[in-house]
């Protein structure tokens, strides 16, 4: 699923990843941990093909990222610090655009909205008028309609209330049991470790620890 060996990625002139070795199999739920600047976000972006890997080996879903970064993106669902929402679009417009981009139909959109527990009264509301938690839920719904094989999440619990966090955790567990791989970074250690089945510690742009959790 993910095969990084000695992967180096640059942020400007500085190495954001300084030789990452990481193998992740299908269906795993991997939590990335580490202090600020450890390389968690950079690793997620590199796996998504958003940050070019300039040295080492980088394979995702069987595709060599150094040869083609675009090919795998269709199968990736990414939720970063941003929610990827167009502020002036209604929730409905936004979801329809995201769904149409991947050929999902209206039923799949409705199902995704239901799964993230977004009430239909919000459909005609511009996304900029939503609360932070509601925006996060719309972003999650947009990710769900992509039916990703690989979920990449950066601080996914941020902005969500307690119920929203439970919903997210359940979604991650369901996706994993359906065969999707989940890689996420979170500073909410207890909650995140309850979802993950493996914890990878990063430091200075390298993997410095890798362990299974119950």
């Amino acid at each position: 699923m993910i095969g990084f060996e000695g992967a180096v990625a640059l942020m400007g002139r500085f190495p954001a990843l300084a030789g990452v070795d990481l193998m992740v199999s299908a269906g795993e739920r991997v939590l990335l941990q580490g202090p600020n600047g450890a390389g968690k976000t950079s690793l997620l972006r590199a796996v998504a093909g958003l940050l070019p890997v300039v040295a080492g080996t980088a394979e995702v879903l069987g595709q060599d990222l150094r040869a083609d970064r675009r090919g795998v993106r269709r199968h990736i669902g990414m939720l970063g610090h941003d929610n990827h929402l167009y502020a002036d679009l209604w929730v409905r417009d936004h979801m329809r655009f995201r769904a149409a981009a991947v050929g999902a139909d209206a039923q799949e959109v409705a199902r995704a909205m239901e799964l993230v527990e977004l009430p239909s009264r919000l459909w005609r509301v511009p996304t900029r008028r939503l609360s932070a938690g509601q925006r996060r839920r719309v972003a999650l719904a947009a990710l769900l309609v992509r039916r990703p094989r690989l979920w990449l999440l950066d601080e996914p619990h941020a902005g969500l209330d307690a119920r929203g966090r439970d919903v997210l955790d359940n979604l991650l567990l369901e996706a994993s049991s359906a065969g999707a791989t989940v890689v996420f970074a979170s500073h909410e250690v207890e909650r995140a470790q309850a979802v993950a089945d493996r914890v990878v510690d990063l430091g200075g742009g390298r993997v410095v620890g890798d362990r299974r959790v119950a």
Partner: protein
């Protein structure tokens, strides 16, 4: 490719439909430019009629800069640039989609400005087909060129001031060609208006090819 381009265009037009920036802010600004020039020329009817075509295209270009800036600002907000890259759309589709949406907004702007031209400058038309074709050709040139340079400036922190600096000199030939074609269409000169219109279509073709080739690296590395 065209399906994805239409999706991107539809999304951009939907954003404009919801926000109404072109119709409530850019178009009034364009009309204001015409009015200010009318005052500057002391409402001299002969002078205004002779300069109308040029002033029209100047107003279109300043309005276009604002519309292009907005079209790329919405992609920069909330990480939408990343979402667009992750969408799986080919860069060429994104380029064509954004150019199409831009062209539609420019046509709306031009329609409003044309009404302003007739009202304030008392402009008459002697060749409607030429006027229509020149308007379309100028629109398409500004749309494809603007999309290309909008993407170029999008990754830069000083893009608000950089875009007009990059774009306006490049569009100067389009300004000249559009003005000459409109002068012929409005009977101010007997220039070969169709030749100037043809030049605009050639410019459209050149910038379309350049945009399709360059948009991928611009979006990926910008």
């Amino acid at each position: 490719m065209w399906r994805d381009a239409l999706l991107v265009a539809g999304k951009d037009l939907r954003i404009e439909l919801r926000a109404r920036v072109t119709i409530t802010q850019v178009a009034p600004l364009g009309v204001l430019i015409l009015v200010v020039f009318a005052f500057a020329f002391n409402a001299n009817a002969v002078l205004l009629a002779q300069g109308a075509a040029g002033l029209y295209w100047v107003a279109v270009m300043f309005g276009a800069v604002l519309i292009i800036q907005r079209a790329f600002d919405v992609e920069g907000d909330d990480g939408n640039q990343d979402a667009l890259r992750l969408s799986g759309f080919q860069p060429g589709s994104i380029f064509l989609g954004k150019a199409m949406a831009l062209a539609v907004q420019l046509l709306v702007l031009q329609t409003v400005l044309w009404v302003g031209l007739v009202v304030f400058f008392d402009v008459g038309v002697v060749d409607w087909p030429l006027l229509g074709c020149a308007g379309l050709a100028g629109t398409s040139t500004i749309a494809v060129c603007g999309t290309l340079y909008g993407a170029l400036a999008a990754g830069v922190s000083v893009r608000d001031t950089l875009l007009p600096l990059l774009l306006l000199p490049v569009l100067a030939p389009a300004l000249l060609a559009g003005t000459r074609a409109f002068e012929a269409a409005t009977g101010v000169t007997t220039d070969a208006g169709w030749n100037w219109t043809g030049l605009l279509f050639v410019m459209t073709a050149v910038y379309t090819v350049a945009g399709l080739a360059a948009f991928g690296p611009l979006v990926e590395d910008g």
